[in-house]
């Protein structure tokens, strides 16, 4: 296993290099002039040039790129212009919030979509099948910010069931001691039930928003692969052997059917990370998505680069985890590696 992990990591290097290059070029192409921004109002042209020089922006692009990569190698992601904070620190502080939200969203989605997909697969062509398809497709058809706003309007503004959309915790709850950075986990580790409930309540709507968005791909894939597996030879064999229906459905069908679903999770996760940006904006979520959007709008290079790089690493890590999980379930994948 360790060599497998190492190899996978080595394999991702080319795409990470690609990400670094593309991000660099993209951020340099952004409109807006950081030097003018730094110089403040009423600065003279000379002053702006001065600042441009001090920021190293007067250098030709390749030189800037080398500087950037050198800093990157040192683990220095630069400093945000808009918040003035080191990007690495900002991301470290905000990443758990985003990760907790995205993962919970994925979890919510799977908790709904997988049973729906299985239900649909066991009755293909039935009304249940059509209903599942319509419900999940409707979920993915809503702009995620719109879903979020509607949920806030209904569950907070009209009904008052959900807490105010003020981020990870209410104003009078204090965050649990940081261990993982995930409030749910940290509060449990600290044995703080109140904080756990409080952060769960705050998470409920944004996670649901994300979850609704991811229903369709997961349900669709579950249905398709479950259909394929249910009509496969080995499930027929298991039936012919008279195995208990629980064994047939869970040990034989379900585990095999989950394999393609697991592989799509990487794609779904990537989509969720994108959607996360909008959800965070709606729910005032202190994650890296909203951070990145603001930085992008402000042409603030460093946070955008740092964010994208973090995301790429996260994505790579997730895919690695998916590969490992896949390998855990499917011996063929293990042999391949």
């Amino acid at each position: 296993m360790p060599t497998l992990i190492l190899k996978r990591l080595v394999m991702t290097i080319p795409s990470l290099i690609g990400v670094v290059i593309v991000t660099f070029l993209l951020t340099r192409a952004l409109p807006g002039d950081p030097a003018a921004y730094f110089a403040g109002p009423a600065a003279s042209t000379e002053a702006i040039e001065q600042i441009r020089k001090s920021l190293g922006l007067d250098q030709p692009l390749p030189v800037q790129f080398v500087d950037y990569v050198q800093a990157l190698v040192r683990g220095d992601l630069g400093t945000s212009l808009t918040t003035g904070q080191p990007v690495a620190a900002e991301i470290a502080a905000r990443l758990p919030a985003s990760a907790e939200l995205t993962l919970l969203g994925l979890l919510v989605s799977m908790a709904i979509a997988v049973p729906l997909g299985i239900l649909a697969a066991t009755r293909p062509g039935s009304m249940i099948d059509h209903a599942c398809r319509i419900v999940t497709t409707a979920g993915v058809s809503l702009p995620v910010f719109f879903t979020g706003l509607i949920l806030v309007y209904v569950f907070y503004y009209l009904l008052g069931w959900a807490p105010a959309p003020l981020g990870r915790l209410g104003i009078f709850d204090s965050p649990p001691p940081t261990i993982t950075g995930f409030y749910l986990i940290d509060s449990l580790l600290a044995g703080d039930g109140t904080t756990f409930m409080a952060s769960l309540k705050q998470l409920a709507l944004p996670a649901l928003t994300l979850g609704i968005f991811a229903l369709a791909p997961i349900a669709r894939m579950t249905r398709a692969s479950m259909l394929a597996v249910l009509s496969s030879d080995f499930v027929r064999t298991a039936r012919a052997c008279g195995l208990a229906s629980y064994t047939v459905v869970v040990t034989y069908a379900f585990r095999n059917a989950m394999l393609p679903v697991i592989t799509t999770l990487g794609m779904v996760f990537s989509f969720l990370l994108g959607a996360n940006v909008l959800v965070e904006k709606v729910f005032a979520w202190p994650g890296i998505g909203s951070f990145a959007v603001e930085a992008l709008i402000a042409s603030d290079f460093a946070p955008v680069q740092g964010f994208v790089l973090t995301m790429a690493v996260l994505y790579v890590a997730l895919n690695l985890a998916i590969d490992l999980l896949y390998g855990l379930i499917d011996p063929r994948a293990r042999m391949d590696a």
């Binding site: 027929r236 039936r239 012919a240 052997c241 008279g242 011996p331």
Partner: protein
């Protein structure tokens, strides 16, 4: 031939509801297999061989529906029993092996586990002892180094080995009836012979009745005590092997024998069967589904088929049989 039948199928009829009409896949299928004997069901593709087996096993596609018939396994009518009852005897009293053994095994479970699953369910083997017993079973089906192989996955084994594993699974609970559905299709001739020997030997050891489904007349001739010839969902002839080849009575059987390359001295001597299977969705299917291809067709052929009892010596579903 006086032995007690292990399985009796009577008047079995199966329909498939498809979008383009109802396929009357089986009609009036009757046969019996005595304990310790081997019955071969022979026919071309689409003749309903496998559907018969699936119907008896209760593993038909959701689109399939049994419209009539009985399948008596001991005192239990498999077709009328509840799903739970059937599931309880499947794998215990009546077992089945399939073609394409590599896909018929769960790809992500070790073969040992898969055998153990059946042992735990049907052979009253305690969970802890199951792996050990699985290894024994693998040894019984002639797998070398069974302890190591038990931990292997199907994709790590050859087709022949997979079929041995399938046999081990099917015979784990020592059933009284084994249905082997084209068990050697896709295997090499040499492997085919070995597997067929193995099935024969094991069946003899436990006194099991075997239903052997094949399209290969020569293989059936070599392995079966009795042969059921099917055509388009009908049993056209049912006789002991020797009798059938010595005196085929149904025109289709005779043609089939004549078309088998093994029988002919030269290519020119091979007979071909004119026409093709009728479309089983047709509403105007003739009572004898061979009638439209049959050179010996008579006026009588438009009447209902002659009745075919389950355990006769030599049954022919024909108004104008060869003598």
């Amino acid at each position: 031939m006086t032995a007690v039948p292990a399985l009796v199928v009577e008047d079995l009829a199966v329909e498939f509801r498809t979008r383009s009409g109802t396929v009357r896949a089986l009609e009036r299928v009757s046969f019996a297999v005595p304990k310790g004997e081997t019955l071969a069901i022979v026919g071309e593709s689409g003749s309903g061989k496998s559907v018969t087996a699936y119907a008896v096993m209760g593993i038909l596609d959701p689109a399939g529906r049994i419209t009539s018939g009985r399948a008596m396994l001991g005192g239990l009518d498999l077709l009328a029993a509840s799903a739970d009852q059937v599931a309880a005897v499947r794998g215990r009293e009546i077992a089945m092996i399939f073609q394409n053994p590599r896909t018929a095994l769960n790809p992500i479970r070790t073969v040992g586990q898969q055998i153990a699953d059946v042992l735990i369910r049907h052979a009253n083997v305690p969970r802890r002892e199951a792996p050990g017993r699985a290894v024994e079973l693998l040894r019984d089906v002639g797998i070398t180094d069974p302890a190591r192989r038990a931990k292997a996955y199907p994709f790590e084994m050859s087709g022949g080995m997979c079929q041995r594993v399938m046999i081990a699974i099917a015979l784990a609970a020592k059933p009284s009836v084994l249905i082997a559905d084209e068990p050697t299709t896709g295997l090499d001739v040499t492997t085919q012979a070995v597997i067929m020997d193995l099935i024969g030997d094991l069946a003899r050891d436990i006194g099991m009745a075997t239903i052997f489904i094949t399209h290969d007349l020569a293989l059936a001739a070599q392995r079966a005590d009795r042969i059921v010839v099917m055509h388009a969902g009908h049993v056209v002839e049912n006789a002991t092997t020797a009798e059938l080849f010595a005196r085929p009575r149904h025109p289709y059987t005779a043609e089939l024998i004549a078309a088998t390359p093994d029988a002919a001295a030269s290519l020119a001597a091979l007979a071909s069967i004119p026409g093709s299977l009728p479309d089983l969705r047709r509403l105007d299917l003739p009572p004898c589904r061979y009638a439209e291809r049959c050179p010996r067709r008579l006026g009588d052929c438009d009447a209902a088929l002659p009745a075919a009892p389950a355990i006769p010596e030599h049954v022919v579903a024909c108004w104008n049989p060869l003598s």
